[in-house]
């Protein structure tokens, strides 16, 4: 299966999606520095958890390959196979020390017309929330960029990877939209697509008239709703109502890892956009947990 095949992603990966900051750092606009955090602008689908046949929530555990000893998360390191069977260990600090400035800052050195970015480059969107004591610099940047219909362009390093990013202002809110690097997008030639050939006029007219019948002026986002997700939700609701296949919450609290997504992304975004700090300290994933999620290709 080709490497860029994203159709085989297991749903369980999405249970890791917690509404916590993806990155925190500084937006540099000239000499103005604006502390921000990035939150995903997309949320996962309905997350299903893995249980055993009695309904007990299961936990992920690392084991050593040879003798199946259970391993603590901090026993795990990331490594790179530099030659066959020759692994080099990579520590987070080493990656960060490579380019400290770009690991902490999104330095907006140029502003481009929003319309000059071919949308095919947009990869993933994050909301920027202000982290400082005041929202003034945030509002100033958002307002002036939106007025000018320009996006700020920069590269920065997040979680051990280089990102090209467009900072876009819309409705007074700043978004960081990661862009694909030029060489990540295959050209039609690289794929080996045939050159466009002259088409039979009759066939074109037949297709045009069929297109006309289906043409609408406005885009209806309703058409993008996921029938599978809706059916799954209906099924869950029906089962909750009838009580079949429903296990009541255990008396003792479940380990934190197994508990459901209690905090909603929307809630977090609404509060953080108004500059309110989180009430509870955010759970910091262990080093290896972060390493683990970085070790695999970014889940899409």
């Amino acid at each position: 299966m080709s490497k860029d095949d994203d159709t085989n992603q297991i749903a369980e990966e999405e249970e890791e999606e917690q509404p916590r900051a993806f990155w925190s750092g500084i937006i540099a606009f000239g000499l103005v520095s604006l502390p921000v955090s990035l939150f995903p602008a997309h949320r996962g689908k309905i997350a299903l958890k893995m249980v055993d046949d009695k309904g007990t929530l299961l936990r992920r555990q690392f084991f050593s390959e040879d003798d199946s000893r259970p391993l603590e998360r901090d026993d795990i390191v990331r490594s790179y196979e530099i030659e066959k069977y020759h692994y080099v260990v990579v520590e987070d600090e080493e990656l960060e020390a490579l380019e400290p400035k770009r690991s902490r800052e999104i330095d907006l050195k140029r502003f481009v017309p929003l319309s000059s970015i071919n949308p095919v480059y947009f990869e993933r969107a994050y909301f920027l929330v202000p982290d400082g004591d005041t929202t003034k610099a945030y509002r100033l940047l958002a307002r002036s960029m939106e007025d000018e219909q320009r996006a700020g362009i920069a590269t920065f390093v997040m979680h051990g990877k280089d990102y090209l990013v467009a900072i876009v202002a819309e409705g007074g809110i700043l978004r960081a939209e990661t862009l694909r690097f030029h060489d990540e997008l295959r050209t039609p030639d690289q794929v080996g697509l045939p050159q466009r050939q002259a088409a039979d006029r009759k066939a074109v007219e037949r297709i045009r008239s069929a297109i006309r019948k289906l043409t609408h002026k406005q885009f209806d986002a309703e058409l993008l709703s996921d029938p599978q997700a809706r059916n799954l939700k209906l099924r869950i609701e029906a089962k909750l109502k009838s009580g079949t296949g429903v296990l009541k919450a255990p008396e003792e609290p479940e380990p934190a890892e197994a508990a459901g997504n209690v905090i909603d992304l929307m809630q977090v975004l609404k509060e953080r956009l108004q500059g309110r700090r989180p009430q509870h300290s955010e759970p910091q994933p262990s080093k290896a947990a972060r390493a683990a999620s970085r070790g695999k290709p970014r889940s899409r």
Partner: protein, 258 residues
């Protein structure tokens, strides 16, 4: 170096039927790391364990459950989950056609090139029609047990299927309120506009490349030869104290560099 087709389907709408092949448009250029055990650099694996008994539950014996906010678990049987899967099909069904850019890029997920399958005559006629009419199509299809929505559009003259996020996945902008606060200072706003204009340019994707990737590979090569690698913690920049002063100084600096 040609890329292999990953899927075959048939574009359908009205009486039109165009067989196509799908090709991934994204080249994976990430540095892939592997997780190892720190002590002996041996491979590791992950398994699911029962937290009460610490016993490993083989993947084939795992079941799925939805956990409610109060912690109740709704068990879903294998049969139920299979029943909820989309029906396999080769159809790429066009739901509607829209003026170009009517679908905002916030919905965009992943691009796939389309190429002709079997008879190519209608394939190029479709490209021609999309070109002449300046429209894009909204399509729905099922690929490997997953339902997709996508935009059928031209990229550099070639038909492309841009998969889109499902409606439920995109956080609605309308539901969020922008940060509030006292009115912005006109003078500061003027300076911010000026600074943006001074830093204005066109977007040239070729100008940027993944430098960090090169640096990571260099560092790893050095480390493999036994060289010491830096581990210094970077010093973060302080937030600006006075916005007006910072803007003024930025403008002076930008003028000097211009």
């Amino acid at each position: 170096m040609a890329v292999r087709a990953m899927w075959k389907g048939v574009i359908r709408f009205d009486s039109i039927r165009v067989p196509v092949k799908l090709y991934g448009a994204i080249e994976d250029r990430n540095v892939h790391f592997r997780l190892l055990h720190r002590g002996d650099l041996e491979p590791v694996h992950q398994s699911m364990v029962n937290p009460e008994t610490e016993e490993v539950v083989p993947y084939a014996e795992t079941r799925r459950a939805y956990v409610t906010e109060s912690g109740d678990r709704v068990l879903l049987t294998q049969a139920e989950l299979e029943e909820l899967e989309p029906k396999p099909s080769r159809d790429i069904e066009l739901l509607s056609f829209l003026p170009l850019h009517a679908i905002d890029h916030r919905w965009y997920d992943r691009p796939y090139y389309l190429g002709p399958d079997e008879d190519s005559a209608d394939f190029f006629a479709l490209a021609e029609a999309l070109d002449e009419m300046q429209v894009e199509g909204l399509a729905r299809w099922v690929m490997r047990n997953k339902s997709y929505v996508g935009a059928l559009q031209l990229y550099q003259g070639h038909p492309m299927l841009m998969s889109l996020h499902h409606a439920e996945e995109v956080v609605p902008l309308e539901a969020l309120k922008p940060p509030a606060g006292p009115a912005l200072d006109k003078r500061e706003l003027g300076m911010a506009h000026q600074l943006i204009e001074m830093l204005e340019s066109e977007f040239q994707p070729q100008e940027f490349h993944d430098e960090f990737r090169d640096h990571v590979l260099e560092m790893l090569a050095a480390k493999a030869k036994g060289k010491q690698v830096k581990k210094r913690a970077p010093k973060p920049r302080e937030p600006s104290v006075d916005l007006s002063d910072a803007l003024e100084a930025s403008l002076r600096q930008a003028r000097k560099q211009a």
